[in-house]
Structure formats: C-alpha cells, structure tokens
C-alpha cells in the first residue's frame, strides 16, 4: 500500500527524529522492565514465605493488574509532571504486578517435599532459594516478565501523552494533523517492538526452563 511507502519516505526524510523516538521508546521500556524485575522478583520471593504480608501485597498487585494503563499514566502527571522520569515511574508501576504475582505464585508452587528435603539435607535458606526455588520457579517468573514487557512497550506508546517521548509521538501527531503516513511511522515499529519482545522473552522462557522440567 502506498501508505507504507509514504511512511518509509517520512522516516528517510527525518531519520534523527525517528531514531530518537525509537531509542527513547526502547530506553523507557527496558528501564521500566529492569527496575520492575529488580523490585518484584526479590519481593515475590520474600512474600512467598510470609502469608500475612503476602495477602495485602498480592491484593494490591491484583488491583494494579486491573486498572487501565492510561489511567495510571494520567494519574502520575498531576503529581510528578511530564517527561521521561514520570513516564518511567508510571511504566514501572505497570510492570510490577504481573512479575510480582507470577514470582509469588511460582515459588509457592514448588513442591513442599522438595523444599523439605533441601532443608533437611542442610541447605541454608539462601541456598534453598538460589539452588532450588528460583530455578524451579524460573519458567513462570519469565512468563510474568514476558507479560510485563509487552505491557510496558504498549504503555510506552501512551507515554507520549505525558511528554515521555517515544513512538507514540508520531501517532498523536498523525491523529492531530490527520497525516496517515505518520500514524504508520509510529504504529508499525511499536507493534514490531512488542511482537519482538514477546518472541524474545518467549525464547528466553524456554531456554531458562531447566532441562529436568521440560516435557
């Protein structure tokens, strides 16, 4: 379709604009995901051993999973303003729930007899987490990270509304000016990023499934 050709011409005509938006998009997404993993995985592990703290945290995470992404981004704006940092904050918040819930569930689903055997054989708590629980929980944890990755990339498109930059800028500009090629310049790369991340984390998930657990 001619639309795609026009979109391509637009990119060729404005390479720095495109690459800058693309880079911001990737930077926002990757950072938010990395921070969320760094917070939510240890938190999920810690919560798995404490029923009471977990009830509250998991309920909060479930609410977090339910609320619309744009609502979260919008609510951040009156408090933190616009720009990269507030967008990063909002996106990190969006990424936390799936990773936290999956980590918590995965650790709790490790067979109690396996943990009992490990403890009875003399592993310390840290050794049990490192050598037994995390490897066995890895597939489900990575499934959560995969979900979070796609959500973050999708959210980063919306970050255009609060000045976060990224590929969403082209979409909003395209709608405002009714310039269809610009819509494509924003929408298609964003879609490819999301699909690519889904593939990538899917492959990582499979690669990280311990050989003993693959069916």
């Amino acid at each position: 379709m001619t639309l795609f050709v026009e979109a391509w011409q637009f990119i060729v005509a404005h390479p720095e604009r495109f690459l800058s938006a693309l880079w911001t998009h990737i930077a926002l997404s990757a950072s938010a995901l990395a921070i969320a993993v760094a917070i939510a995985v240890p938190a999920g592990v810690a919560l798995a051993s404490s029923r009471r703290a977990a009830q509250f945290a998991i309920a909060a995470a479930n609410v977090g999973r339910t609320v619309p992404s744009l609502a979260v981004l919008a609510l951040v704006m009156p408090i933190l303003g616009t720009g990269f940092a507030p967008s990063l904050f909002a996106l990190t918040l969006l990424a936390l729930p799936p990773i936290l819930i999956n980590t918590y569930t995965a650790i709790r689903q490790v067979e109690p007899d396996v943990v009992d055997a490990a403890r009875g054989m003399g592993m310390t708590r840290r050794e049990i987490v490192r050598k037994v629980e995390l490897p066995l929980a890895a597939p489900v944890i990575f499934a959560g990270i995969r979900i979070a990755a796609v959500q973050v990339i999708s959210g980063a498109v919306l970050a255009a509304y609060i000045g976060g930059g990224g590929l969403g800028d082209f979409i909003t500009a395209g709608i405002a000016m009714m310039a269809l090629p610009q819509l494509i310049v924003g929408a298609v790369p964003a879609t490819l990023l999301a699909l690519g991340a889904d593939r990538l984390f899917g492959a990582l998930q499979r690669a990280l499934t311990p050989a003993g657990l693959r069916t």
Binding site: R65, L70, V72, L75, I171, G174, L180, L195
Partner: protein, 206 residues
C-alpha cells in the same frame, strides 16, 4: 473534588459511553469466541491457529492498533469496537476451548451412552461444566476492554478517556482525576463483580 461534584453529569455521560462500547465489544467478542472456541475445542489445528492469530492481536500496543485502523475505518466508535473485540478474542477463545476440553471425558462418554445428541451434550453438559473457566476469561476480557476504551477516546470513541485527554491538554488536574479514577473504579468493580460470578458458577459446577 468540587469540580467532580459540579460536573458529575459530564462524568456520568462519559461513564455511560464507556460502558456502552465496552459491553457492545464484549458481546460481539463473546459471540465470536463461542463459535470459534467450540470449533477449536474439537480440532487441534483450529486451536493452534486461532490462538496464534489472537495471540498476535493481543500483543499489539493499544494505541498502535487504533492508529492502524484509522486508514481503514477512520475515527469513531467502530474503530474502538473493532480493536476491543480483537483484544478480547485471545483470552475468550482460549478459555472457551480449554474449558470445554477440560470437561472430564468420562462424563461426556456417559452422556453419549445415555443417548444425548452432540447438540444436547454441548448445551447441557459441556458448556455448563466449562462455565467457570469461561467466566474467568470473561473477567480478564472485561478488564482489558475497559482499559482499551480509555485510550479509544483519542479516536473520538467517547468514554472516560475524553475527560483525561481534555484534562491533560488544558492542564486541568481535577478532570484528569475524575476521568482516571472513575475508569479505575469501573475496572475494579467490574472485576470484583465477575469474580463473584465466577465463584458462584464454580461452586455449582463442582
């Protein structure tokens, strides 16, 4: 807060629009998913293909999807509804198909042995027993659809997003609060209500 009280009619209209497009999309998606899901439950290849396609659709960023539809259907409600239907298909088709597949085979076998036709088995045995899983999928689809509808305001579909966008562009915080918090509340309440339904249905099926 005072803005909210003085302009609650604006919020109410937006909320109503939001609910209308959400329910419309869910109804359409559910109808499609029942057909495709039942078909997929019986045939592995259909299952594989249907899940593949709807999985890809689900992964597309919301705003990107809406944008890609503009050259095809322009702006407005139909744009939003197509997007929302597409997003809900994956979870609904999967849950209908999986729900039916998880009905214990010996139960179906007993029904067939007693002389029920395929249609009767589907209607009176398989779908009722698959209901908990289907409702679980409906719950996730509802939350997804409400979330998309917030963004869809930007393509002139109406809904609570209009308050948010208006608030952002005029830097009017109370509007943002009103739109965003109402959308959150709607999502949380809908999720809770469907969770109760799921629990009730699950208890009956067991």
């Amino acid at each position: 807060m005072t803005w909210f009280l003085r302009n609650w009619d604006q919020v109410a209209i937006a909320l109503w629009q939001h609910i209308v497009i959400s329910v419309t999309s869910l109804a359409i998606a559910f109808a499609i998913s029942l057909v495709v899901g039942i078909w997929a439950a019986r045939h592995d290849r259909v299952m594989h293909w249907a899940l593949g396609v709807s999985g890809v659709l689900y992964t597309i960023p919301t705003l990107a999807f809406l944008a890609l539809l503009i050259p095809l259907v322009g702006l407005g409600r139909s744009n939003a509804i197509i997007c929302m239907v597409a997003f809900s298909l994956m979870i609904l088709v999967r849950n209908v198909a999986v729900g039916i597949r998880e009905v214990p085979p010996e139960v179906v076998d007993a029904a067939r042995g007693m002389g029920m036709s395929s249609g009767e088995i589907l209607r009176r045995i398989e779908l009722p027993l698959a209901l908990p899983v289907i409702v679980a999928g409906l719950r996730i689809a509802t939350v997804t659809v409400i979330s998309v509808a917030v963004v869809a305001a930007y393509v002139n579909a109406g809904g609570l997003g209009t308050l948010i966008f208006s608030g952002i562009s005029s830097d009017h915080a109370p509007k943002i609060w009103a739109g965003a918090l109402t959308a959150c509340a709607l999502a949380i309440i809908a999720d809770w209500a469907l969770a109760q339904l799921e629990r009730g249905v699950r208890r009956r099926a067991e």
